[in-house]
């Protein structure tokens, strides 16, 4: 037991179950959640709808980033256009008023979209650690093709490996295996 505790301190243990269909993974995930298992993650070749509920995940907060940066971009741009056209060096252009606000909107809109989308994408990539050249840690080589992988973390001593493995097989897992992750010190 002491040895096991010792092992837990330095290593994390996971149970990896591979499924071959969308329906199986949905059911298995929901089942695991209902059983109070700690779902580390699910790996799918495409966005399986309903899996967020099955995993009990909160909705993404990226819309807030999108809104805030978009708003900031638009605000900055409209101020910048006003400043350059009416304040910094007011130049009479075709008899138009110094502050030609309606004419400033098209660019403001474009800049808003640009800020909002680029910042959203940037936040997403940074938040999820997706960076160029980054090596992928794959649960299984097939998760980008046709496999669905459910990864359950063995969180505590009460975790019964065999029971869970059996359950997963019942739920349609084509294979179940245990993985140990070396904790870097």
């Amino acid at each position: 037991m002491a040895e096991r505790i010792n092992r837990l301190a330095s290593n994390r243990r996971f149970l990896l179950a591979i499924f071959s269909s969308e329906n199986d993974i949905l059911a298995a995930t929901a089942d695991a959640r209902d059983r109070g298992l700690s779902i580390a993650d699910v790996y799918t070749p495409y966005a399986v709808h309903g899996l967020d509920k099955a995993m009990d995940l909160r909705p993404s907060r990226l819309p807030w980033v999108c809104f805030a940066l978009g708003f900031a971009g638009a605000g900055f741009k409209v101020w910048f256009e006003f400043w350059t056209s009416a304040t910094d060096w007011p130049i009479n252009v075709g008899g138009k008023p110094w502050n030609s606000l309606p004419a400033f909107f098209p660019v403001t809109f474009e800049v808003m979209v640009l800020f909002a989308s680029l910042s959203t994408v940037a936040a997403f990539l940074l938040g999820r650690g997706l960076l160029p050249g980054r090596r992928a840690k794959l649960a299984s080589p097939g998760v980008t093709d046709n496999e669905f992988a459910l990864v359950i973390e063995e969180t505590d001593a009460t975790f019964c490996l065999d029971e869970v493995t059996a359950r997963l097989r019942v739920m349609g897992a084509t294979s179940v295996e245990e993985r140990v992750e070396q904790e870097s010190v």
């Binding site: 130049i91 009479n92 252009v93 075709g94 008899g95």
Partner: protein, 1016 residues
Amino acid sequence: MSDNSSKEYWKSLERRSDGVRPLPVAGDEFASVPDAPGGERKGVELRRRDFLAAAGFVLGSATLSGCARAPVEKAIPYLVAPETIVPGRATYYASTCGACSAGCGMVVKNRDGRAIKVEGNAEHPVSHGGLCAVGQASVLGLYDSHRLEHPLQDGQEATWEVVDSEVTHRFDAMRKSGAAVRLLTGTVTSPTKRRVIQAFLKSFPNAKHIEYAMLSTSAICGAHRKTHGQSVVPRYSFDKAAVIVGFDADFLGTWLSPVAFTAGWSKGRRADVDTKNFSYHAQFESRLTVTGGKADRRVAIAPAQLGSVMNRLASLLATRAGVAFGATGDDTDVHAPVIEGLAARLWHARGKSLVVCGSQDVATQIVCNFINHMLGNYGATLDIARPFAEGEASDTGAQELLRELQSGSVDALIIDNVDPVYDLPNGAEFEAAIKQAGLVVSVADRINDTSKLATYVCPDHHYLESWGDVTLGGGFVGFQQPVMRALFDTRSVLESLSIWSASGSHKSDQALVRETWGDQVAWNMAIHDGFARISELRVASATFRNAAVKPIVDAGRPSGQELALVLYPKVAMRDGRHASNPWLHEMPDPITKVVWDNYASIAEDTAGKLGIETGDVVRVTLADGKSPAIELPALVQPAQHDQVVAIALGYGHPESARFKQVGPAWLEGKPTLGDNGLVGTNAAKLLTYRDGTLRLSGEHVSIAKTNRTHSLACTQDYHNIEIPASLVLPGMDRRRPMIQETTLAAYERDGTLPSHGYDAHHKDLGDLWPDDHKYEGYHWGMAIDLTTCTGCSACVVSCQVENNVPVVGRDEVARKRIMHWLRIDRYYSDSEGTTDILHQPVMCQHCDNAPCETVCPVLATAHSEEGLNMQTYNRCVGTRYCANNCPYKVRRFNWFDYAHEDTLANMALNPDITVRTRGVMEKCSLCVQRIEEARIEAKKQGIPIADGDIKTACQQSCPAGSIVFGDMNDPKSAVSKLIKSGRHYRMLEETNVKPSVGYLGLVRNRDENEDPTHHG
């Protein structure tokens, strides 16, 4: 800090030579002149262009290195500074234009030692401030790379000493031997020249002075010799005439002294000043001229009809005057009612009328004199006591010389600045005959068809480099003074003749001119003014000799329905002596808008009958078969008489072969020259001699279509004032209101222009933002009077010279890419069987709500605080959006680098104006450089700019004074007064772009039922 680190870069850079041709320096006097006038800016145009082109390319790569430096420029000062020259400041000299024999007064702008612009002299008694296109362009002749830089002997470079000693030696021998010496010149209008020639020839026992001109006044002189005993051309005063009748005399365009005549004529047509004394102008002419275009009544007649029309008029007037006249004229003629009405008008305006005739026939001119005599116009509107010119009464001198030459009896022939091989019909015979002469001395500024035959070519100064004088008529004489040091080793012909004279006295041209006038004029004042009033040249003894008057029997041929040839001088090209001037070739003809060509004008009906279209090459043959046929493109011309084939003289000049290089060279570029390697075709071969005068019109010709075509480059594609009926919705006005016209009767009654559908709901649209742009200081504006604008295009060339507008060549014009900042729109307007011609100068309208400015992405065009639409070339990236969005299409794009390769010609560039590079937009700036100059001067003196202090280049040149520029905020300014006129309107006012340029509607002295806007 790091200032010293970069020193090494500089030493290593050599000054770029750019192939700048060093100015030739005459003489080696202790350097009181710089070795290059304006040395600081020498060759700067090339560097500028290179810099602009290179800057963009360099930018990217050089940004990081930070060590890119502009080329080293040198500043070369004078050794000993002349007192009168301040580098960068222009000096102005009064002189007299030498581009033709009219003698218009001019003021020459000299900048850093070189003449760069000529303008009219506002105080001049003849030209009153205007200057025609030819005069404006003549400054480029100074910097003509084809000018001879030194005398030639047998085609080889020689020195004056050698030439003089040999020529003098041979002349001395001839004086002794009594050999025949002949001096051939053009029409001599300079008293000094006449005096020097006479003095020179007197020393020879057998010497003769022969004058000839392609466009001679011999018929007028001959007629006056017969009717008044004096071989003169009277001084005509169009300003004093209430009724003006022109018979084939294009006095507003090319006839005698168009600038002076336009000034006088326009004085009688100031609709705002005085509608009561608005003159009546009738014109009988065979082709369409600018004069006919301005006439209140224009009648197209065949050359053959001229005699009968004038006979009829003379007989009607003779009846009223109670004088006998041998004929009654044809009262069944279709024009009979017009002539009768005209006779009544003329009779009513006795002593205040003027009848002029451009015929080369003495008998016709006699009838013209008779008419003027009966009307009491001599002494009133015609002055023969102080005539415009004295001249030969016949054109046969040159032909006699030809026979003498052919017989080999001429020992020495001196040819002074004329080219008979080119401009006489039997030029080829001349060429052969001149070779028979023992000694041929040519005083020509270049190698031409005639001077290449000479043993000695003694190049004359350009008129801007020499002293001279011109008889102006009316008791005035005009003076020429050198406005800059002679560029080359040339010498005034006056000086040459004085050296070659018997006395061998070497007198300078200045001394010779001064000698002529002695105490008659206050010399310094005369030179300062450019003219002087002198005591009467002759005492009038002008009793009219009725005996001389005979009705015109056969004024012109052919008599039937055959085609008659009419040769004519074009407004820009005249007799072809300026054929080396690209500005004049590229000036659109005021009537046809064609550039870089002459053509056979054929009336619409005739062309239809013959199946000829514009651009078809036709063969024109004189019916008598005396001359070889010429082939040239046809142009279908409205309003021309059906029986007329009109061809411009002055084209096909050998000198025009140089324009091979004009225009951009690129894959689809087409040459400026025609198939003959020249610009146009020389029509001088078709000139004929009859009754002692050289005839321009009346010969019977046949015309045949060839299977070739030659497209004419025309600046305008659509010619009618009305838009095509097929593209207009029923019930809508076909006429757009860009040109508004009315009749005198209607204008007297209403005081305004007739209203039209366009402005009904568009007048005074107001502003959405009235407070943002108030123009509190100056607000520059312009008003152009369409009543007096003749379309003569002096403004076009003046603008080109002032603003460094490039010449683009024929192909580019054909592609509708002419660069002129100021164009003159020409429309034909058909009403009641007659065709009116409408001219409208259009330049940037400087809209206060300028559509072009709004769309420029980089602020290269914006509005100034004084209402100018500014164009910043160096900021322009060339999207052409502004030009697209300009309702007036006045913006001009540099499609190519319109080369300025001729470094000599580049000396005529205005150093205050940027030479534009490829890919930038340009347009009229309302001569902002002149505004800025005036502002700086006014600021220095602490006073506001006075009205009239600034004259734009177009305004300055306008002989009719049709263009007025000034401050619209100053209620007392001339332009403000014109804006208040009932005739004032702004083009496309309904778009609310608020142009600062406005127009004064066209008024013709017609009854209201003749109102051209009230038809259909």
